[in-house]
Symmetry: C2
Amino acid sequence: MKEWEKNFRQVKPYTPGEQPKQTDVIKLNTNENPYPPAPGVLKLMKELDGTALRKYPDPEAGALVSAASRFYGLCEDQVFTGVGSDDVLGMSFLTFFNGDKPVLFPNITYSFYDVWADLYRIPFETQRLDENLKIRKEDYFKENGGVVIANPNAPTGEVMNLSCIEEIIQKNQNSVVIIDEAYVDFGGETALPLISEYPNLLVVRTCSKSFSLAGLRVGFAFGDPNLISALNRVKYSYNSYTMNTPSILLGAEAFKDRDYFEMTRKKIIATRERSKREFRSLGFLFGDSQTNFIFVRHPGIHAEKLFSDLKDTGIYVRHFGSPLISDYLRITIGTDAEMDVLFDFLKHYPGIR
Amino acid sequence: MKEWEKNFRQVKPYTPGEQPKQTDVIKLNTNENPYPPAPGVLKLMKELDGTALRKYPDPEAGALVSAASRFYGLCEDQVFTGVGSDDVLGMSFLTFFNGDKPVLFPNITYSFYDVWADLYRIPFETQRLDENLKIRKEDYFKENGGVVIANPNAPTGEVMNLSCIEEIIQKNQNSVVIIDEAYVDFGGETALPLISEYPNLLVVRTCSKSFSLAGLRVGFAFGDPNLISALNRVKYSYNSYTMNTPSILLGAEAFKDRDYFEMTRKKIIATRERSKREFRSLGFLFGDSQTNFIFVRHPGIHAEKLFSDLKDTGIYVRHFGSPLISDYLRITIGTDAEMDVLFDFLKHYPGIR
């Protein structure tokens, strides 16, 4: 090792789901929305002024912050935006978790949390899910340097009641509590109404799933203006212009069509509920997912083998290496037609029925 | 102060140049390119497939990395891309500067360097420019945990010979040396040919200035594959998808029109040289800028007053608060017509001539 290599930051990166180059696959592996962005977004995309790209974007991403604040009925100073909820969460870890006490989050959850903690040398302690893969609120009633809960949780899809979430916040008045609501538009209750009550609550959202804008990279944190300005201070200490002009303008446009948002979100929920019936009839076991994916296992089947056989037939789903959940597959809800192809394959798969 | 506020990261953010909402101003304050992006970029913008935004971008930004590597005659594993050179530089500080020895950079330079160092608690020591605002290479011959040199330097515009840059690299075989070449397309010699020779050299570039793409946020680091993979490991520990789909596709397109790039860059250089003659005839003092801005002062004029009078007349330039350079204005090179309006104003300004 060269002398200067000793100063490299040692990290174990997060592995994102595969983005295959072929377009003729059924892609149920990264929780993308099967429907295109709102018609207004597609229209505006054709009308964007390319010559304006010579100028820096609005560092405050004003149009986007304003559109999101109106959509959620918040004030603009309660809104922070970033390059997907990953950027928002990563920056939140860096901003809020600088104490000596461990930050608490579940042992099975979004697998980026421990990566950010490692990246920034933040002490953390994971809390075991119960035997039904549910979060036990009592695990978060002890001393800590912060709490992070995904609700609904990933990759389990399980929801925690808002009253339990509120209890966790109440018992943690000395920490910042982050509720990661990447999937809440597909089920569960949002904690957004609580941010005016609890100055230590940060609610994180993304346009990647329910707004069909994964390719644009737009995420948000909502909270007390004091939290938001702390986040902005760190943002302005890293990169003045994180949001580029297309993401500001197209992201803002997405919030202007609530009907389309409601329609696509409800279609996905309907397909999910139908998919649960199909999975059940095929002998799969799973919890009551309230997200745009279902986390399934099958007593007669080797999950990694099924993952690989599905991939060979052009159907991408997600399998996680962690031994705790290696029996499971996380399957994104696609269109009804896409799910039909999946179920048709599964019906003839050895070991199923 | 609340208990949880004690865990907030304390930072002093960088202040970006103003982005006025009005469009009828002459904007010479943020070193933007006065010419639009290449015609191919404008054309592709109209043709982008909006429905593709429902999917995540390519996490490796393959099309962009490949286009940049071809443009610069490098291999793809020598290229890292980020959300402007700010993202690239910030991530480089986090990746490479984890030692106890101070990182060295000039006392007058891009004022984000000390902000990143503070953000990540990196020890640093600034080195004084000489009386002509030039970097003294000998200041970088001592023990350190890293070296960062902007060449040409900002906001002075002064260039260091490539032989001096190479000498600094040679004397620092135990540190990562970053050469920030945000402005090198407007003058000076690039250190790119040295990256195959020195595995500890990282050269940073941006599409914001010479490619007219400030609004897209595209920057690069070029270096030995070992440095690039260290950067990517940290990137994948922060945000799998930093580059959104429009920035990947439109950024890649910009590299396909070398003629347009050469034409606009030469126009700006010609306007700069003409502007030097005008400034000189008006009694302004300045060094031999090799960038797309000139850093001027005038013995008979209060810089902050002139800054504010220019702003009142709709001409935005940049004034920095630091006492070391408070006598100066940094004036971006606009079109010839924009510069004419500026010089016309200055010719009648009290204290000039």
